[in-house]
């Protein structure tokens, strides 16, 4: 029975059988090489010794519980989201919790209100990567919605301005926008006003990502049938109420898969800050490789970073898929 299934699926004709055999041998060879390297050739001391750096950057030793707490909260929140359907009351609080965890991160990392202040230069590693991602995501969503609505607006000035902004941003490479954020934003500010580097990166990411989100949301808006607006008008609702209460929720639900893809993309793109001098996950890897003790250990570092990024991104994608399913269920129910 099983044999028959295997035959049907992988050995249906000669060409298929050859492909299958080639793939199997390829998998065996590469797996053995990789496993041999991981367990025998590789020297993982560079990762072991610098583990706190990879996760928390150069955060003060006695305050490590703060980024630690934040990261564990995120982990708990992620699992809660995945398991949420089992408890009925949880889903109601989840969106609020997800939105509030980015400001909580700033508070826990930066200090204030009883916590000793820690300069943003000490933020780094995976914590900084997640902070950059979450903050930029939360800020760019409203901006993206406004831009998408602006592009659909009846008012020509607003429509043209939104289109111009979206199209320009989408034709520029991200690294150029980040370069602008790091080196040119200070030139646009009045003397004496300084915005710290991490926030400047967040501004740049927000400016960039919101243009992409706007296009995804616009796709969602277009998918909402015209009759919905008309139905709202019949009910005597104000145009603003129609947009916010009827059109937008539907559009966002349609756009959700592409929005979550953008979020995963954003997390990966925070690695570009390594080129511009922030010590986020990839940046801290490059700094560690400059330490004379670890010169030349970059294969181990890169493999470790790749695994870490993969796990985080996959987790994000899983949660996103889960949310999509939940929303589809809610809609039906």
């Amino acid at each position: 029975m099983i044999l028959k299934k295997i035959k049907q699926r992988a050995f249906s004709n000669i060409l298929d059988s050859i492909t299958t055999l080639i793939i199997i041998s390829f998998i065996i060879i590469s797996l053995t090489t990789i496993l041999k390297w991981i367990f025998f050739s590789a020297n993982w001391s560079v990762v072991k010794i610098n583990l706190p750096l990879f996760f928390f950057g150069s955060f003060p030793k006695d305050q490590l519980w703060r980024p630690g707490l934040w990261m564990s909260l995120i982990a708990i929140l992620s699992f809660a989201t995945l398991l949420a359907p089992r408890w009925k009351w949880v889903p109601k609080f989840l969106p609020i919790l997800w939105i509030s965890f980015a400001p909580l991160g700033i508070f826990l990392l930066g200090g204030g209100l009883g916590l000793s202040p820690v300069e943003s230069r000490n933020w780094g590693g995976l914590t900084l990567t997640i902070l950059l991602t979450s903050f930029s995501a939360i800020l760019s969503l409203p901006l993206g919605i406004v831009l998408a609505l602006g592009r659909q607006s009846e008012l020509p000035v607003i429509r043209k301005a939104s289109s111009l902004y979206i199209d320009t941003m989408r034709s520029v490479p991200l690294i150029a926008v980040l370069f602008f954020g790091q080196l040119l934003i200070p030139l646009f500010l009045p003397i004496g006003l300084e915005i710290n580097r991490v926030y400047r990166a967040i501004i740049a990411f927000t400016l960039f990502v919101s243009a992409y989100l706007a296009e995804d949301i616009r796709g969602g808006l277009q998918s909402v049938p015209k009759t919905q607006r008309e139905a709202g008008e019949v009910l005597g609702l104000h145009p603003l109420q129609i947009t916010c209460l009827i059109i937008l929720p539907q559009a966002l639900r349609v756009a959700l898969p592409s929005l979550t893809n953008q979020a995963v993309g954003l997390l990966q793109n925070t690695s570009l800050m390594a080129i511009l001098g922030l010590v986020e996950l990839l940046g801290i890897g490059r700094s560690i490789l400059a330490n004379p003790e670890f010169i030349g250990r970059y294969i181990e570092v890169y493999v470790w970073l790749a695994a870490l990024y993969w796990v985080v991104c996959t987790l994000m994608a899983l949660i996103a898929r889960h949310l999509e399913k939940q929303m589809a269920l809610e809609k039906r129910g």
């Binding site: 298929d16 301005a161 490479p173 150029a176 890169y302 991104c313 996959t314």
Partner: protein, 298 residues
């Protein structure tokens, strides 16, 4: 005369934009005078005095900054065009494997897509360069006799030499983009009615001919827009060349900004060069698009 509230909103919005722009320009001009940077493009015609490893046209360090920038632009164009072709080939192959009949092939290509899509491109590029090419050290790989040799100096194929920097950027960009193209291709083919497969099979065509003559032509209108946006992404991503030491427009611009101390002018040049690159790609795709639609109408 009655002014509607719509016009007032627009006027207020326009005024707000103008004020915002003016404040920014005001600040920047104060800052420029304060730091004594100024604003001019005269430096473009001074000698660049740095060498380039790769330049498609003759170049020497005594040529002007403008010429060096043009070399960078051509280098970008070169790597974009090559990766675009390679990414399409790999992407279509993976995309077809994803929907093929062979279960194992489907699983492997799905694995390929998740590994590629869930890790940052920048990390992948460094991996290709430092691990794939530079780890070869003294060894020279010759998989098919003397036709192809791969070493830490790059790839030599039939006498054509590609530097290690170019090759790793080419491979990194192509592999990364191919994972996205594969999904575009899969989506496009899945959008074709399933009944089409059964109907050509009942006509006695085998899967390959059917796919080529019936399914793909119908899937193309759905594939092309996605493909265009992936190509544009590839062009934008090519700026990460700086991480593997390839002299593209961004890297050269970076060097020049450092030498001349003119970040604003350099930034403007970067934006303009990308405007041209984008026009180049979208117009090219537009031409392909019209070619396909017109051939279909005939």
């Amino acid at each position: 005369m009655k002014i509607s509230y719509k016009e007032i909103i627009q006027a207020l919005f326009a005024l707000f934009l103008i004020i915002l722009i003016c404040v920014l320009i005001n600040n920047i001009s104060i800052n420029l005078t304060r730091t004594g940077i100024g604003f001019s493009f005269n430096w473009l015609f001074r000698p660049a005095s740095f060498a380039l490893a790769e330049h498609p046209l003759p170049y020497s360090p005594s040529d002007s900054y403008a010429w060096a920038l043009f070399m960078g632009w051509l280098n970008s164009l070169k790597v974009i065009i090559y990766s675009l072709l390679l990414a399409t080939v790999i992407g279509v192959f993976i995309g077809l494997s994803r929907i093929g009949k062979n279960e194992l092939l489907r699983v492997v290509s799905a694995g390929y897509i998740t590994i590629i899509r869930q890790t940052p491109l920048l990390l992948q590029l460094m991996f290709w360069y430092f691990v794939a090419f530079l780890s070869l050290k003294e060894t020279v790989l010759k998989p098919i006799g003397n036709l192809l040799s791969i070493s830490n100096q790059g790839i030599n194929f039939l006498g054509i030499t590609l530097s290690a920097e170019f090759s790793s950027l080419l491979l990194g960009l192509s592999v990364f983009t191919s994972a996205y193209i594969a999904e575009v291709v899969r989506g496009g083919i899945n959008s074709v009615d399933k009944g089409q497969w059964e109907s050509f099979r009942s006509l006695g065509l085998n899967d390959f001919t059917g796919l080529y003559t019936i399914i793909i032509p119908q899937a193309l209108p759905a594939i092309l827009p996605g493909l265009t946006s992936q190509y544009l992404n590839l062009a934008k991503n090519s700026t990460l060349a700086i991480a593997v030491g390839y002299s593209d427009i961004y890297a050269i611009n970076d060097t020049i900004i450092n030498q001349t101390g003119r970040p604003i002018e350099g930034f403007i040049i970067l934006l303009l060069s990308f405007l041209f690159l984008n026009l180049f790609i979208s117009n090219g795709m537009e031409i392909i698009n019209t070619m396909i639609t017109s051939s279909k109408n005939n």
